[in-house]
Each structure stands twice: as C-alpha cells, then as structure tokens.
Amino acid sequence: MPAAVRPALESEIPRIAEFLASRLKGEGGPARYRRYLEYRWPVDRPDVGIVIEDGDEIRGFIGAIYSDRVIADRVHRFCNLTSIAVDESHRKLTLSAFGQLLKRKDTTFTNFSGSEAVQKIFDFFKFKHRPGERAIVPITGAGIPRRVLRRVKVTTDLDQIIPMLGPTERKIAEDHASYRCAQLVIEREDHRSHVIAVRRGRGLKVFADVLYASDRQLLVEELASIQPSLVRSLGTLLVGVDRCWMPAPPRLSFVYAKLRPTYARSPVLEIGDVDLLYSELVPMSGDR
C-alpha cells in the first residue's frame, strides 16, 4: 500500500510527538511536541497537522496550530506551521503534504522556525518573509524611564489587566493567561498598549522576547518603563523587540540576527501585521 498523506487527529498526538522527538532531537523529548500540539486556547481545529504514514509508521509530519483572531474588526483564521519533519525516504511527498494544508485559501499561514530547506518550500508556495531580527536592549540601555518624567502607568497584574482591555485584547489576554507569558499594560495619557512577552534564549543570551504589543510605538517609546516588570516576571535583563518596530535601537542595544525569519502567506494581511502570538513560542514558554 502506498504511503498516505492525510490530516492528523488529536488522538494521534502521542505517537506524533514520539516521531518528532526522535527526528528533530530538540530538548524536552516528546513532551515538548505534545505541549505545542495540545495548545489550550479555544478554537475549532480541523486537525493537528498533516501526517505522512507508510504502513503503520509515521514518516513525516507538519504541525498546525490554529487560532481565530480579530484584526481590523475582521475575524481571521490563522495557522502556525510548526514541528516539521519528513524522513528522507519520503520527501517526495513533502510538497503534497504542504499542499493539503495550504489549499485553505481563507487562512493566514505563519512560520517562525523553518530550516533553510523548509524556507525554500515556503518560497515556492509564495510566502512573504522578513528577518527574525530583534533589537536586544539591556535594562540600562533604554534610558531613564519616562514615567519618572511624566505620567506613565504600567500594570502587570493579570486580574487588573483583563478588565482594562477591550474585547479583542481581552480574548488575547485570556487565551495566553495559562502560559508563562509576561503580560502588562502601558498607559500614557490617551494611549494604551497591551504587551505580551516570553523568556527565550539560553545562557547569557536569555531575553524577554516581545511577542505582541497592541500599540507598538508606545511600547518602543516606553521600553524603559516596562523593563523592571519584565525582570521581575521573566528574570531577564535583556528585552528583545522586533527590529522592524525599532528602526533606531537605543544606545547599548545590539541586533540579534540568529532567529529564524518570519514567513507568512495570507489572503488579506501583510507580513507586517503578523505577530508571534498563538504560535509554538507560547506553549514553549511553559505554564504559569
């Protein structure tokens, strides 16, 4: 019987996780991949990805993390592609596997972790991409917190944050509440930014990676005001901000260019609209 390329079911997650752990060899073993695929935000998920199966053996997998998000008053279906591995013997089926997922034309597909080979496949399927560069800002690098100079309020208690937010941001806050994400709200005069960050990196390069800011300009302007909160909640002395949000990084900062590029294909959204929420980076952060 020829190998099959088909949607993967939730009941198959344990054996898929075993397959991924043996092929991708990331830290954390099968539990790491179970965590990615058993994400907890509510969404009607049609599958957990696409599996290539030969006989009773899994020979390839493309993970799919779904979410429904409101952007500019419109609901968008997102699918973050993650945990991609195909045995060399079955790579003639890789394009077909991607094709099964990508045939959904109403979906915005994203990827933040593709290898060079996978990036070539995304290029083939006409994904757009931008560098995964972060401006890494040390705690002393963003200058004097402006809240010393004028009225800036930073709220970090999730119980206080959620009532402050409108419906769209509240859903984001609640969907990420069970994960070890730092959430805070910056308020300055009439401006407000809901910010979500996770701890990333290792050794001396551990940093608070800002996955999302509802008002990116306010985040950049008030970075010094939120750094103490990020130190407390994530234990990091460095903050990483998307380089595109911060064209002129402050003094003492540096550009970290080793993260994988952001890839996206969308029927309506631009790549600049894509943030890192609802992706494998969230369950990767651990539980609150």
């Binding site: 790579r91 890789t94 394009l95 991607f98 094709g99 990508l102 070539k120 083939f124 399927f125």
Partner: protein
C-alpha cells in the same frame, strides 16, 4: 510541436535529477526517479518555467509528478 515539448521536458527532467535522458519514459517520475524529493521538484518547476517561459501556480505544480503530467500541463499552457 508535441515531440518538441516532449524532448525539452525530458531534457529538463534529466538535467534536474541527474539521470540519462534516454532512460525517461512518460511514466518516469516520483515513483521511479530516486533523486526525486521536494527540493528537487521545486528545482524542476523553476527550470520548466524558465525553459518554457511559463508560470505555474504552486498548488498545480505539486501534481506534476510524472513526465506525462508535465508534458500534458505544458501543452495546455502553450495551446
């Protein structure tokens, strides 16, 4: 015209996968050519687009997994 398309397709396939052009038949493809994998298939599509001055949608191109299917698709596009 058809023979010309067939000859040029087979030359591109042979060059992409490193196989003798004489060994190719209409049924040659992902099931018979050992070097056929996803990246080489992408290289093949790019080479065919260059050779014939055509543009293939990726969702259509992934179905082109035999010499016969490629020849058929190119004849349709050139018709």
């Amino acid at each position: 015209m058809s023979d010309e398309i067939s000859r040029r397709v087979r030359e591109v396939v042979a060059a992409t996968f490193g196989v003798p052009v004489e060994s190719l038949t209409a049924d040659s493809g992902d099931q018979t050519i050992e070097a056929w994998d996803s990246l080489n298939q992408i290289h093949l599509i790019v080479a065919l687009e260059g050779e014939f001055g055509i543009s293939l949608e990726p969702e259509d191109a992934i179905a082109l997994t035999t010499v016969a299917a490629i020849e058929h698709a190119i004849r349709d596009l050139k018709a």
